[in-house]
Structures are given as C-alpha cells and as structure tokens.
Amino acid sequence: MTDAPILRVAKATPPHLARRVRGLSDRAIAWIFVTPTILLLLAINIFPLIWTIRLSLTDFRANRPNREVEWVGLENYRSILTDPDIWNTMQATAHFLIWTLVLQVLIGFSLAWLINRKFRGSDMWTTIIVLPMMLSPAVVGNFWTFFYQPQIGIFNYIVSFFSGVDPASFSMIGSVTLAPWAIVIVDTWMWAPFVMLICLAGLRSIPDYIYEAAEIDRASKWRQFWTITIPMVLPFLMLAVLFRGIENFKMFDLVVQLTGGGPGSTTEVTSINLKREAFEKWRTGYASAYAIILFVTVFGLASIYVKALNKVKER
C-alpha cells in the first residue's frame, strides 16, 4: 500500500519513460537501506539478549572465566524471586517510582496549565524550566550531593532559612528517612518539565470552540476543567507517565551518584542492586537471570499500560 503511488507512476507511464526509472529496484533499495540497522541491532541487542538468557541458566562468574560452568536450570530465577533482599530493593524502586510520578504529574500539569494562560514571555520561561532535563544525570547527581551537605549545602541553608531548622541538624543523604526523598526531589527537579511539555501539547490541542460551546451552555469553569480539559489531556498525560515510568524503573546514574544506594541499602533501586550482583560480586549467571526478570517486568507492564492508553485514546 505504501509504495502504491510509485507503482502507479511506473505502470501509467509509457514504456520509454518507464525505462528511465532505472538503477536498483525499489525492493533492493529498501533492503539495502534497512539491513545495516537490523544487523547492528542483532549484533548489539539481540545476540546479547540471547546470551543473557543462556547465562541466566548457569552459575558462570565473569571474573573467573576459566572455572568450569555448571547448568543450574531455573535455580537462579527461583532464588531471586524468593530472596527478601530483592523485595526490599523492589520496594525502594516502587517508592521512587510512585512518588516521582505523582509529583511530576502534579507539578508538570500545573505548570502547563499556567503556561497555557499565554502570558507575555511564556516561551522564554518555558525554555528555562526545561533546561535540567537535558543534563547528564550522573553529573547532576554528583553536584546535588554538594547542595545536600549538612551545614554548608545550599539546599539545607534554604530549608533552614524558611523553616528555622538548624541546617547542620539534618542530612538528606545520610539519613535513612530522608535519603529516599533526596532522590525524589532531584528527579522531580529534572523531569517535571518533561511532563509539563507533553501536557502543554495536550492543552494546546484542545480547540477553542469546545470551550466556547460550553460557555454558551453556561457550564462553570470548574465543570469545564473536569469535563473538557482533563479528559482531553489524559492521553498525553498517560504517555508522559509511560515514558517516565520506564525511565525511572531503569534509574541508575542519578541515584548511584547521589546516594550510591545508601545509607545502608535504603535507596538501593533495582539497577544498583543488579550492578552489585553483576560487577561487584561477579555472580554473572545470577545477575543475568535478574536482568531477564526486570526486562520481562518492564515489558509486561508497559504492554498492559499501552493497551489502557489506546482505550483512553479511542474514547
């Protein structure tokens, strides 16, 4: 169907013209163009994935390549799914995931709603708000540890300025109760603008005449907000949540630089836990099984979510 117009041209043109459409056939061009990308992905994505599945069934250790490798079947999977420590990291991940999504949706939507009031200079301020999300999370995480220093850190100083709490009395990174919030705050600072941009596109896609019609029907502003604005922006908002959800489930660089998973293992999200198993304890087989479980989880959740998203879109 896609190449129909081309075929039509070739068929409709007299023979002497058709002959002038020369060179490689379209089919050959299509394959030549697509194949290199597919090959690269096979070599660097699919082959490693299959290898990971294979490794996950063994007790291989990458730091001792000469040791005899034994097949252990599904033992790695069993021990991961029954390990209470893994469930702790899942909880740390869930805390991070849920709170970042809640805050980013609230802040992002509110900002978009305000920006959509079309005040003067709104484009410039939008660009400024967006800046943090393009930065390197590792470098951002590193310099936030500086802001979070008790006593000398600017974050503690500002908090104490407004609340009167002694800036040396709390440590965002050192405290078991505060550390999970330390990572939520930085991630929200970075990514609320992402939700904002997408919501803004949603708000701008609502045609004015819908509100005008509601106005004529004497619908209150409040009612317009809940029956027009929210339903029309919802598909956009859900898309933003999908992207942020996948990204934050994989979160590594920001948290590793900010808290390193500490104190203890309070902020040890799954990626950090996986890194410890794979590259510190060198339990390669075990870590491979872990990686597969994570991949299946993200993939499964994302597929269910996309189905829900499509339903909302169809409405």
Binding site: D26, W31, L41, R120, F143, I152, L197, A291, F295
Partner: protein
C-alpha cells in the same frame, strides 16, 4: 485565534499565572547559578557557612581541574624560577607546583570523539532505515519498528553484562570504537523513529517527479529527500549527541582509561581532604554548557525528540 474570544484569559489571570511560572523557573535556576558560582570560588569560600553569595572570584577551580599538582616545601620553593603565568602563581601561593595536565582534557576529548562518532553513525544508518520504513513495504514493518523501540526498555546494566563479556573477547573493551558502536545501537531506535516521522511529512510527489525526470531512486533520495529532511536530521543528531554526551552507566562499566568519557570522571575529582568542589563545579560547568546551548537551539523540536516522535505539536 480571535483576540476578543471568551476563552482568552483575563489580564489578572495572566499576571498570576506568569508570576507563578516565573517563580518556579527561578527556583529551577538556583542549582545552575550555584554551580557556576562555585566554579569561580576559592576552596574555603566554596564550603563556608553561611553559603557565600558575594565572594572574591578566583580561577582556582579551573586551574585545579586542568592540572595535577604536588606539594613542595618552602626551601624548594625558594630555589624555583619565578612563576611563568597566573596559574602557576595561584598554585604556588598554596605551597604547591603544577606537575602536569590533569586527565580532564583527555576525558573531554573522548566525550567529543565518542559523542560525534556515534551521532554520525546513528544518523547515517538511521536516515537510510527511516527512509526504507517510510517509503517501502518492508515485511514485518510494524514488528521491526516496535522491536527497535523495545530495545530501550532494557536497563543499561542488564545490557552491559553480555556486552562486557562480548567486548572482552573481541578486544573492544575500553576502546573508542566499542563505545561508538554501543551508543549507536542505543541511539538508533531514537534516530529511526524520529527520522521516519520527519520523512513521512515530506510529500512523495517530489520524489515521483524526480523519478519521472530520469533520476534513479537513490539519486532522488540524495537530491530530493535529504535536503527536505535537513532540519529533522539536524535535530535528531542533536538528540543523539546529547544522549551519548550524558551517558554514564555503560561508560563507567565498560571503560576505565583510554576511552573513558567525562561523566564518570567528573565525580572522581578529588582535592586535598574530600571532593574539590570548585574544580568539580568548573568541570560540570564546562561539560553542561554545550548541552544547555543545544537545548535552547532545539526548543521547537524538544517535545518530539523526548517522546520518540509520539507527540508532534
């Protein structure tokens, strides 16, 4: 949009909305301003309490960032020739001498080589594939496109395990080529999705006209499609570049020296007794500045890039 529309917000509303947004933007800016200021502070100023907003600017951070230094005794200092430049003077005043350049320059150059190398390759492969997907019937097209996207769902650490083993046996560990190939593989999904969107928007009639004029398919692609897609290609390239520039997980796991980029290096800048914050801040400033400039240039296409072309505005 009609000016007197009943849906147009009132001036009062605009004023309140504007003030709130500007307040949020200013809060967003505090960390940036603070990090840039810290880059120009002396060591003691950077960790003083209360935090210093007014301070005497110093280039100590930048000098520390680019040099390695060693402590000397007062006697040794007396035997030295007078300092040749301001940097030496600055270091000499602290009782140290410069013994050579630091690794920051090298790491920064690595970031440039790997960033531009992988961007060029992703764009080259991505444009071809995107054109193929956009214009021709490719068997399993939708599956292939979804497959390309799903490669982004893997946590980087999960991908790094087999890549680490594969690169070790191929001799690609800690090489520029290895990192360029890896970043290309990660970026290609973004490149294909974005570029397909841009190429879909170019009317086919242009190429068809060129084909009738006697161009081959390939000539039509190079002479008609590419110039039309130039803006799309440029913004896609910037997104790929920013990703490669910012990437940390693969860099920290798969490189250690020769091919290490700046993100794993900056957090390791250590001074005497803990992190040398002015030097870290100087490094972060130099490293983040290009991305900030690109973001401002890209602002029109930002939305499209960050959503893989799903939202086009």
């Amino acid at each position: 949009m009609s000016g007197a529309s009943i849906t147009e917000p009132s001036n009062g509303q605009k004023w309140v909305a504007g003030s709130l947004v500007i307040l949020y933007a200013l809060i967003t800016l505090v960390p940036f301003v603070w990090i840039m200021m810290t880059g120009f502070k002396s060591g003691p100023d950077s960790i003083s309490y209360p935090p210093k907003v007014v301070f005497e600017p110093s280039l100590e951070g930048y000098v520390n960032l680019f040099t390695t230094q060693t402590r000397i005794t007062a006697d040794q200092r007396d035997t030295l020739p007078p300092p040749a430049n301001f940097a030496e003077q600055l270091v000499r005043d602290k009782g140290m001498i410069i013994v050579g350049p630091s690794k920051f320059g090298e790491r920064f150059v690595n970031s440039v080589i790997i960033g531009f190398g992988s961007t060029a390759l992703s764009i080259f492969l991505g444009t071809l594939a995107a054109y193929g997907f956009s214009r021709f019937k490719v068997p399993l097209k939708d599956d292939l496109l979804f497959f390309i996207l799903s490669t982004r769902m893997m946590p980087p650490i999960a991908v790094a395990i087999p890549i680490f083993l594969m690169y070790r046996s191929l001799g690609l560990s800690d090489t520029h080529l290895g990192m360029i190939l890896l970043y290309t593989a990660v970026n290609i999904s973004l490149a294909v999705w974005l570029l397909k969107g841009f190429i879909d928007e170019i009317p086919r009639e242009y190429e068809e006209a060129a084909l009738i004029d006697g161009y081959t398919r390939f000539q039509a692609f190079v002479k008609v499609v590419l110039p039309q897609a130039a803006t799309g290609i440029a913004s896609t390239a910037i997104f790929c570049l920013i990703f490669a520039w910012n990437e940390y997980a693969f860099a920290v796991l798969l490189t250690s020296g020769t091919a290490q980029t700046a993100p794993p290096f900056i957090p390791t800048i250590i001074g005497v007794g803990g992190q040398d914050w002015p030097a870290v801040a100087a490094g972060a400033t130099i490293f983040l500045m290009p991305v900030m400039i690109f973001t401002i240039l890209l602002r029109k296409h930002l939305l499209r890039g960050i959503t893989f072309g799903a939202v086009r505005k």
